[in-house]
Symmetry: D2
Subunit: 230 residues, 4 copies
């Protein structure tokens, strides 16, 4: 029977690559986005079910999982991508924007992770993948809102991994270190061949983690371009 | 001229030890708490100014700093202690409680850190200290809300340290690993002599960090009892 | 044209699984061991070239690479597995045994890594994989010799990854956290199904890292059983 | 009764600052160096006993501790400073130089740590401090020999801390991140005031760790100038 994959936070290059790869692997695809109208082409290309969902609102996330479960089955694989950041020095940040950054990047991850856990605990198996960044492991200057959100998401992922692995649910966190290539990405030329992260290449590692046999699971994996300084 | 020390989140054993030590060192003490009526004895003992403040509300934090500045001078040293956690497995947590945990533990740290930074950037110097826990660096099973809050606070501290150190503002994060002894602490007997963290002993390290000459600053320091397993 | 894979330190379960998987993938296999007579069956099964080599002796490692290069071509993929440890409390260890642990676990990794780098810098590509352990990232009590060797090996891997990635050479370090199942492993029953690391499962992740497209490389990956405490 | 402090690896600015500070604190000072003739002025200034010792030779280290113990009493505080590095890209390094780097930086730390542990286990107390560097936690390109040595030393320190803390022996590792100012240091001007680590300032933190009450010990502490990028 086909697996169901739910990708939360679509729009960017990584989400689309994940959807395409999982579809190619025979999974049924659910795409959740705040603006599903923007991903109509991807929905069509991957035979996906599309859902409107603000991942930072508990009720919407609960409804999302109920709908996915009803329509294409409880998800075997859930990916959480959304993030938001307020830019600027610590003295200049708008507290409301900082709260939004924490809420979207970290609290939304909790809401989605919780619903995924509930569903997978019932099913007895599953994979939950969180997309982090270099900001997940290093707090850069003038990037405090992103550091708070991404560090917090990593703490969530570690805690869930320790709790859920012995329940046969594989939780993993990715440290994506570097820029992901966008369509017609002007940065590409400056960085030379493969100087930006190819989203299709990242997706291969997400799939690998999902396919790992449970005697040899990975809870964290860092990914960066060959030419990245770090 | 005497320094001003502002301790946010008073009530626990560490805050009281910090207040007493800083007072003994000749600093003017400001104590901010949601329930200042509970710390009347400490206020009196340390000649402190006491302030009512919910550290997770931006306006209250702004008012706090204005009042401290007006009444005993802009703080040279600010300590952020508050934390909150929702206990339970990932599937059972109340999202509102999780949001409260993130807000109190991490967002409140941002609000206080931001006001401290604004004040200290004007003054041209200062120290900002954040109290973390073992949960700041390791996400334990069934402790996701605490992990999110404390990881996030650490991300904030790192980002602020990188931004503010070259502005002559010393930001440091403490990883307190172990239980702090409370008055009449029943755990003490089970753990033997010095088996729980003595708050007076921790306070000595906070003071040391504050006193470090700027050519040799520490941005993170872990502290645990000699008999602690980790 | 077929790739050449050189596996240094054969005998254990992981090396055999790597040899079988790489052979199945069409690579030519070179197996280096201090006692090649012990791996005759594996050599035969994987159509491998077998080499006698003490990886902690510079001249033997140089000869190994020369021979492999001459006989089946310069290696596209090199894996370093050997380790040795002296057991006991710090006060009781024999310094000669500790030096052996450091030499086998870390210095041998340097010697092999250096020869691999020289060969791959000429070829313009390659992958170098180092096998670490939980002792690579945490120094356990009464395990100082293993901690020195494995921490040191990780330092080597990080340094080589930063230097060689921009030269199109992929260096990665694995943190293997848990016991690898041996043939007829008595521990298996106590730990339940998949409670020990299956070497075939680990090998899949080594292969995945080797196959990663260079825009999305991983420099460190941790692997442990689903039921492992950490 | 006065404490005895043994500093291994003297000559540099940090060792001299430690000797002066510990002397000022009333300790009896033992200075061990491969070339004691170079530190005659420091020996005189700190009323020290001076010892010739190659810290990477087991017998010499054993003799050192015996002599110190006989002449000024078993050490209450031992500091290990020596390090050596071979510079260059991985392909160009001389294996003998790499082995020397590992031996001096890490194996010597083991030899000194072991003798200190034996002596302090008998005495029932003591402090052992290891001097690390940014290379202890990050393997920089073209710095593999230093990374191996310093990572390995950190692994040793962690293992010893976990084993010996419950025996009332405080083991700590310092991550010194940045250049230490030398007498007439030309770099000072480029980096502005306090842009290089003042050895006297570092020494204050070593002393603080030694003085920590055992309910609140620190096992690792990072130290860097306010203007350091990291």
């Amino acid at each position: 029977m086909a697996e169901t994959a739910l990708i939360v936070g679509t729009g960017g290059g990584l989400s689309a690559s994940l959807a395409r790869l999982f579809h190619k692997e025979g999974m049924r695809i659910a795409l959740a986005s705040r603006r599903p109208e923007n991903i109509a082409a991807l929905v069509s290309e991957t035979d996906a079910n599309s859902y409107s969902c603000d991942a930072s609102i508990a009720e919407e996330v609960a409804t999302l999982f109920q709908s996915v479960s009803d329509e294409i089955g409880p998800p075997d694989l859930v990916v959480y991508n959304p993030s938001y950041r307020a830019r600027g020095g610590i003295a200049d940040l708008d507290p409301a924007e900082v709260m939004k950054a924490i809420t979207v990047t970290c609290f939304g991850g909790f809401l989605v992770g919780q619903q995924a856990a509930r569903s997978m605990l019932k099913a007895g198996h599953g994979t939950i993948l969180f997309t982090g960044a270099s900001a997940s492991v290093k707090g850069f200057a003038k990037s405090s809102s992103f550091a708070m959100g991404k560090f917090g998401l990593r703490g969530l992922a570690q805690s869930m991994a320790r709790e859920l692995a012995p329940q046969n649910i594989h939780v993993a966190h990715f440290v994506i270190d570097g820029g992901i290539r966008q369509p017609n990405d002007a940065r590409g030329n400056q960085r030379g061949p493969d100087g930006l992260l190819e989203p299709d290449a990242i997706a291969q590692s997400y799939l690998h983690i999902h396919r790992q046999q449970r005697s040899a699971w990975t809870a964290e994996m860092e990914i960066r371009p060959w030419v990245e300084s770090y």
